[in-house]
């Protein structure tokens, strides 16, 4: 009886060890296979995952993804890429804005790749040397509560005494708000931009943790308006919340609306270069832009003639803020100490 028990015990341990070893080896094998592509994604998983699944279905290439969380403020995986520079795990990086892709280029983490599908994308949304290429964009817009009678029309309204204590923006240390402020620094010059930021403080503009929270605060009537991404605004409009979306500074002499495209980046030393190129081609195709336009993220296509939902304006009907994303990226790093101080961190 005891002997049978012992045999069972030994067999159990052996089975467990073999099972574990088998599974572990399978995990590694999957990642080393040529028919796999590893992608790090800063775009929200809820929008990016269906696109990657479609790619898997169409090409048979297995996609292994790492997604950012809201708490990581869309920069977590980019920083993971930096940490993995000497031992890269990813083949492709799908960033939700071009600035951080530019940072990766400067840190020698990305590799050039010019996709044939990028030919009809405007040059302003592409890196000159092919280190990153933009697609499906968000616009930085004002979300305004419907109860507000005379709506704000410019980002300068954030600093207007008329709106004292009635506006909110996301923490400028993170996400697209940082990029937007860096873009303002490149357009205004340092002095004027610093003065503008200080005037926001003087005008009691509240700080939220994210653009999503800002949009909710406006929808609930706590604040009159906020500067958010167009997907946050469209999302609340589709939910039936009492808000409207205003493209800011659209007048003839207006500053224009800051556009934030998604970008795709090839990683230097990618283990699956061929699969990576196919994924990049796919992401830059008009069919992906159409899907992202009709998804809840409501992103604006950069290819001309792509069908869009009624809530969106096509890119050629929006007055776009003229910026050089390379300069914006450099400025973003430069103004970090100022922003930390502005946000009260140091």
């Amino acid at each position: 009886m005891l002997a049978t028990k012992n045999v069972r015990l030994v067999l159990g341990v052996l089975f467990f060890a073999l099972f574990s070893a088998g599974l572990i080896s399978c995990t590694n094998k999957g990642q080393d296979s040529e028919n796999t592509v590893v992608v790090y994604v800063s775009e929200d998983q809820v929008f990016s995952e269906p696109i990657l699944k479609d790619f898997e279905r169409q090409t048979g290439i297995k996609v292994k993804a790492v997604y950012d969380t809201e708490e990581a403020k869309s920069t977590g995986v980019m920083n993971r890429l930096i940490a993995e520079k000497d031992n890269p795990q990813a083949d492709v990086y799908w960033a939700n804005e071009p600035i951080r892709a530019q940072v990766l280029k400067e840190k020698d983490i990305s590799a050039p790749y010019v996709s044939k599908n990028a030919e009809t994308i405007p040059d302003v949304f592409k890196d000159r040397e092919g280190y990153w290429t933009g697609f499906s964009a968000r616009a930085r817009v004002l979300i305004v509560n419907r109860e507000v009678k005379s709506e704000p029309k410019s980002i300068f309204d954030l600093a207007s005494p008329k709106w004292r204590g009635r506006a909110v923006i996301a923490n400028p240390l993170f996400g697209t708000t940082t990029s937007h402020i860096a873009a303002l620094f490149t357009v205004f010059g340092d002095e004027r931009a610093r003065a503008f930021m200080d005037s926001l403080k003087g005008n009691e503009v509240a700080i939220s943790t994210s653009n999503g929270e800002s949009a909710d605060l406006v929808a609930s009537g706590r604040y009159a308006f906020s500067l958010v991404d167009s997907d946050d605004a469209v999302n609340r409009i589709r939910q039936g919340r009492p808000v409207k979306m205003v493209y800011p500074d659209q007048g003839e002499r207006g500053l224009g609306c800051f556009i934030v495209p998604n970008v795709v980046v090839m990683i230097k030393g990618a283990r699956h270069p061929e699969a990576a190129r196919r994924l990049i081609d796919y992401l830059l195709s008009p069919q992906v832009e159409r899907k992202l336009a009709f998804a809840d993220c409501a992103q604006i296509p950069l290819h001309k003639g792509v069908e869009i939902p009624p809530e969106l304006k096509p890119l050629d009907r929006i007055k776009v803020m003229k910026v050089d994303y390379e300069k914006v990226a450099k400025k973003m790093l430069e103004i970090q100490p100022f922003l930390r101080k502005w946000a009260g961190l140091k």
Binding site: F16, Q31, Q45, V46, T69, N79
Partner: protein, 525 residues
């Protein structure tokens, strides 16, 4: 020889999985631009914000410990010692929050209070708005975490009451009523255990990041995670975790010494000894209603709200589709982690009990320390240690997650098994030794079978903790290998509330099945 080899190997696993990453983090926190510097630590004490974060962390942990202790102990007394009806069912319901990832409770309560929430059917709009306003911040964090950790003092009270010698209570009952007996005899006897439960809650709250993060309450653990994820500042992230880790460790060490001194008070009973039960008399139905209302309010209503907001078959179809492989992976990782931890915990418990290797105390303290530090720091350390071409097989496979589990939850398995080893008479092992059994045979055929129930309990307990783990998995998961709690967490950014609720319900059910088995085993005993 083989004994020392195996016990040293177990200690080495703990060192590799936990100590090495933490040392690597500590080292990097002392470097600034390649030079030795204390600036990361000096910054903590020079910045006003850091003091505010420290105050917030301690306030949150203190309030949650206080509330869960003051609610948990009376509940434990009622459910463990009184003749309240349906005590088994009520205990299980009240334990549900600790079995699921804490942020799911935060989402559930948020669902109740939201514009589409279940409470709008019962409460006027202005009350809901006011509750909702106070929910985000300290108030909500305290409420959610108190609900989540309430089962710790409650369950410990129930367990400890079983070790109180009834003859002491019987003698006291001759001249006093139950309230006085509880105050003067029972509670003082179980006080060390209750102190431990309060400290455990305190330590778990200090390291908790998902709930304060969701409820936008700024604490050290959230800041540490942000430093890593958004700024990738290893040094700063580690430095920010150290004050909390040191506070937690000091408290646990103090408690450990205090408990050792008071160990004689709670001695195990011989099985079959009849325990005294408190007859509640006329107050029985009222107390039953009170406990039921509490369980209904803090557990059933939030879970019903989750269910209510996912009340559509198509949502569950989608949730199962989305969760699919992540759910299976979660189970497998938890199974692997729990199995390894059961073996490791058994060996460590043996080492600690019999002081078999010179560093036995270090093994004990290290496992406590690894439990006390925030999971995010451990995760960061694991990346820093294993992300290089030579250890690719660890970094790019599930091993990296399992190593995290081994380090983080080792203390749970070793402590549970240690408590059982203390109850086994040394004469059993000595008799086998005299009969010629070697050490390995004694371990496998004498001690392991005698500790079978404790090993199973440890396995299930650790399995549940691994299954609900978010802190470590979120940081280290290799591409395409995320667990279900991680998948829910990443989908929460702009995911549809219905789908998130459906996924949370799926997580709740997945955890409740093994938990019910554990409950059945414990109750049958």
């Amino acid at each position: 020889m083989i004994k020392r080899l195996i016990l040293w190997a177990a200690a080495l696993v703990l060192f590799i999985s936990g100590v090495l990453p933490v040392l690597s983090m500590f080292y990097s926190s002392l470097l600034l631009d390649g030079h030795f510097s204390f600036s990361n630590y000096l910054h903590i004490f020079s910045s006003e914000r850091e003091w505010i974060l420290l105050k917030n962390s301690l306030t949150l942990a203190f309030l949650v410990s206080l509330i869960s202790l003051f609610l948990g102990v009376p509940l434990g007394l009622l459910l463990g010692k009184a003749d309240i009806p349906f005590k088994r069912q009520l205990s299980l319901i009240l334990c549900i929050p600790i079995l699921i990832p804490p942020y799911i409770m935060a989402v559930s309560v948020d669902n109740c209070l939201g514009q589409e929430g279940i409470l709008r059917l019962f409460l006027p709009g202005w009350v809901l708005r006011s509750l909702s306003d106070h929910y985000f911040g300290l108030g909500g964090s305290v409420f959610v975490l108190s609900t989540v950790y309430l089962p710790i003092p409650m369950l410990l009270t129930i367990c400890l009451l079983k070790n109180v010698n009834p003859s002491l209570e019987e003698a006291a009952r001759l001249c006093a009523k139950w309230p006085l007996v509880l105050k003067e005899i029972t509670l003082p006897i179980i006080r060390p255990g209750l102190t431990l439960s309060a400290l455990l809650v305190f330590v778990l709250c200090l390291g908790e990041f998902s709930v304060p993060s969701y409820l936008r309450y700024q604490v050290f653990s959230v800041e540490s995670f942000t430093q890593f994820s958004a700024v990738y500042d290893f040094g700063s992230a580690t430095a920010q975790s150290m004050p909390l880790a040191v506070i937690a460790l000091l408290l646990l060490v103090a408690e450990s010494r205090y408990s050792r001194k008071n160990l004689f008070l709670s001695t195990p009973l011989v099985s079959g000894t009849k325990r005294l039960e408190i007859a509640l008399g006329k107050s029985r139905p009222y107390l039953f209603i009170l406990v039921s209302c509490l369980a209904f309010l803090i557990v059933i209503v939030p879970l019903l709200s989750l269910f209510y907001s996912s009340l559509d078959l198509s949502i569950y179809e989608e949730a199962i589709k989305v969760a699919g492989d992540a759910l299976l992976r979660s189970f497998f990782y938890a199974f692997l982690g729990a199995s390894l931890l059961a073996v490791l915990g058994f060996l460590s418990a043996y080492t600690i009990k019999n002081r078999q290797i010179w560093c036995w105390r270090l093994v004990d303290m290290t496992s406590l320390f690894l439990f006390a530090i925030p999971g995010t720091v451990l995760g960061i350390g694991l990346i820093a240690t294993w992300n290089n071409p030579w250890t690719q097989f660890v970094y790019s496979s599930l091993l990296i997650i399992v190593l995290g589990y081994l380090a983080r939850y080792h203390v749970l398995s070793s402590r549970i098994i240690l408590s059982q080893l203390h109850l086994i008479s040394p004469s059993m092992e000595e008799a086998a030794q005299l009969a010629g059994a070697g050490w390995l045979s004694r371990m496998v055929f004498i001690l392991a079978p005698l500790s079978k129930r404790a090993i199973m309990a440890a396995w299930l307990c650790v399995f549940l903790f691994c299954l609900r783990d978010t802190d470590i998995s979120l940081i280290v998961y290799p591409p395409g290998c995320e667990t279900l709690p991680v998948r829910i967490f990443t989908l929460m950014a702009n995911g549809s509330p219905g789908l998130i609720s459906g996924l949370c319900m799926l997580m709740v059910v997945s955890v409740l099945v093994p938990a019910s088995i554990l409950w059945h085993l414990r109750w049958r005993r």
